[in-house]
Symmetry: C2
Subunit: 355 residues, 2 copies
DNA sequence: TTGAAAGCGCTAACAC
DNA sequence: GTGTTAGCGCTTTCAA
């Protein structure tokens, strides 16, 4: 007579789990979890035959290690934090896209937070990232006084600052050669014969704006002309600044034949301002931007711009963080990117050469 | 005579940890970790005095629970996955921004993956999200045949599909009233006196394009006119489509006085195409877009558009996922958003009323 | 070459 | 009211 077993048999059929765990693999192979762990982490000291069976089972069960558990055990969660100062500006969209791409190439995920340029929010969000055992941080536009930098450095978390440089022994930088960007802009305009030229800058308290301006000035100087004070308008990187710049410059009757704005948003503002004043681009005025945002090719006319290699920026930033995560000894480094010149239809040869 | 203790004293000074753990708090208070856990999770059955001390210490040590550990223990990692079909399209930038914002409001972080409309990548990235014990998923543009949907449903992970609807018992939707969007566009143009009107659609295999077109048609019908076949151009939502549409429509000599494109990118293409043909907007042709992307206000002339409430889209999507995460019983639901009409300067009253 | 056991930081069932 | 214990899924000594 057959009696019912008191308890269910020990070895149930492989449970229909949606996500297989390391134990499922071990059970299936008939070895311990440590052995499985050794195999999937490519440790040596595993019998080739066992290794084969494990790999086979991993494949069969579609097993992938749980990153949360890995992250908890050995800070190896393959997670990078991306901290941006604001969400609306369109360059950040580009940076986000490029960083996501670059990170996935290397098997990392990205968590994005948006500090809104608010030190308190910044601190809170960094806190959140640390709570997730983040492995590295890519930071855009940290202010020099930022309280969080030391936090991150203390936690020994690799950090790279992009776009704006930050001087710190343990922090890497990926920045643009801003002097050269300004220089290229200036030279393009003087090469087209422009001699009276205007510039819509970003906030001059920001170092990179001063560098860009210096490069721009030097290029003009090479063409034996100067950027006069009345031809400089300090903007705030917003569309609105471009609009205001045009109004101001026209009222000043500077006689300029070309305007360079330090980003594409302001350049669009300049184009719009000129349109409102019934001035034609580039016939009456050449307009040039910076960043080489995709939208520049969609306007009428399309926008000549200084190319900012955002994908390279992201690529290098991720590369550095990943390297520092994977081989902790590596020191901080600084990468300087080369700007380019994208000529479209908003700039043209000056009509009447200045006498 | 004093003997040296065999081992170090049990109560060491609080270790100088950068991130305090629950044990640090417990040690400092002199209670067990469970008590601390109870307090921080607002469970009752804790002496008010103890609770006070714990909270005080939490404050003092700046303790915040580690989300990785929480996520491992009780699938409560406050993490939502956002799956997008492509990175370049500009509406997705907007969706990203809005979703990040909405999620942070509720204490969630977002991990974004980009499927590039590739089912294999999609599957791999979803896999990655699951490996992170994601609590919920916001999905844009899943195809109906997507293999991953059942995976996610099987894992009982709350899922909401945005922008394009997906019929599934356990999947929520947040979509636009696309019929109404088309209707509003049509009515705006007929109200301006336009009778010969063209439409640049998206791929007609996509249901929402057909709905938009239907609404557009119905609005024209109300004004006793029809959308003739030669005035329809099927685009692919890209800038380029708008460019091609203009070329085609002009060659066909349809005599149209207004064009509606089913997104702003194509509308910009239309404007550019008209510019190249020396046609003035809106004098020679009214142009209208859809999405109401910020760039529409920066072009010259600025672009009239159908407003797509992306922030509401994100807000509702996050709200639904969060609710389903926090109270698992909740069933799937569908939200239909109202489109709006943003009138700018690319549309104007028709010059010569049709006889 | 392999397995048992401890532990990452946390929560929940069960004692006391 | 509070502490002890076990365990989430994984890696890593240590011992066999």
């Amino acid at each position: 007579m057959v009696t019912l077993p008191e308890t269910l048999p020990e070895t149930l059929p492989i449970p229909i789990k949606v996500m297989a765990s390391i134990r499922d693999v071990a059970r299936h192979v008939g070895c311990s979890t440590s052995t499985v762990s050794r195999v999937i982490n490519a440790r040596d000291g595993v019998d080739p035959e066992t290794r084969r069976k494990v790999l086979e089972t991993v494949e069969l069960l579609g097993y992938r290690p749980n990153l949360i558990a890995q992250g908890l055990r050995v800070r190896r969660g393959k997670l990078i934090g991306l901290v941006l100062p604001e969400g609306s500006a369109h360059v950040f969209s580009v940076i986000i896209q490029c960083t996501l791409e670059a990170a996935y190439q290397r098997g990392y995920n990205i968590i994005i937070v948006n500090s809104h340029e608010d030190p308190d929010l910044e601190e809170r969000y960094i806190q959140d990232l640390l709570r997730r055992n983040i492995n590295g941080i890519i930071f855009s536009r940290v202010s020099d006084e930022s309280r969080v930098v030391s936090r991150i450095v203390d936690e020994k978390i690799p950090m790279v600052v992009i776009d704006r440089a930050l001087e710190h022994e343990h922090v890497s930088n990926v920045v643009l050669d801003n002097y050269k960007a300004g220089y290229l802009a200036g030279r393009h305009l003087t090469a087209l014969g422009h001699r009276r030229v205007a510039c819509v800058t970003g906030p001059m308290k920001i170092a990179l704006c001063r560098e860009r301006l210096k490069g721009f000035r030097d290029a003009l100087a090479e063409a034996a002309t100067t950027l006069t004070v009345d031809c400089i308008f300090e903007g705030g990187f917003q569309f609105q600044s471009g609009l205001e710049a045009v109004q101001t410059l026209l009222e000043r009757r500077t006689g300029c034949t070309a305007i360079w704005a330090m980003n594409d948003m302001m350049a669009l503002g300049v184009m719009k301002g000129l349109y409102r004043n019934r001035l034609k681009v580039p016939d009456d005025m050449s307009v040039m931007g910076m960043d080489d945002h995709e939208f520049g090719s969609m306007t009428a006319p399309s926008l000549t711009s200084i190319h900012y290699p955002f994908n390279e920026l992201a690529e290098r930033a991720v590369e550095i963080v990943a390297r520092q995560i994977e081989s902790p000894g590596t020191g901080a480094e600084t990468v300087v990117l080369e700007p380019g010149l994208t000529i479209r239809h908003s700039t043209a040869r000056v009509k009447e050469p200045v006498t």
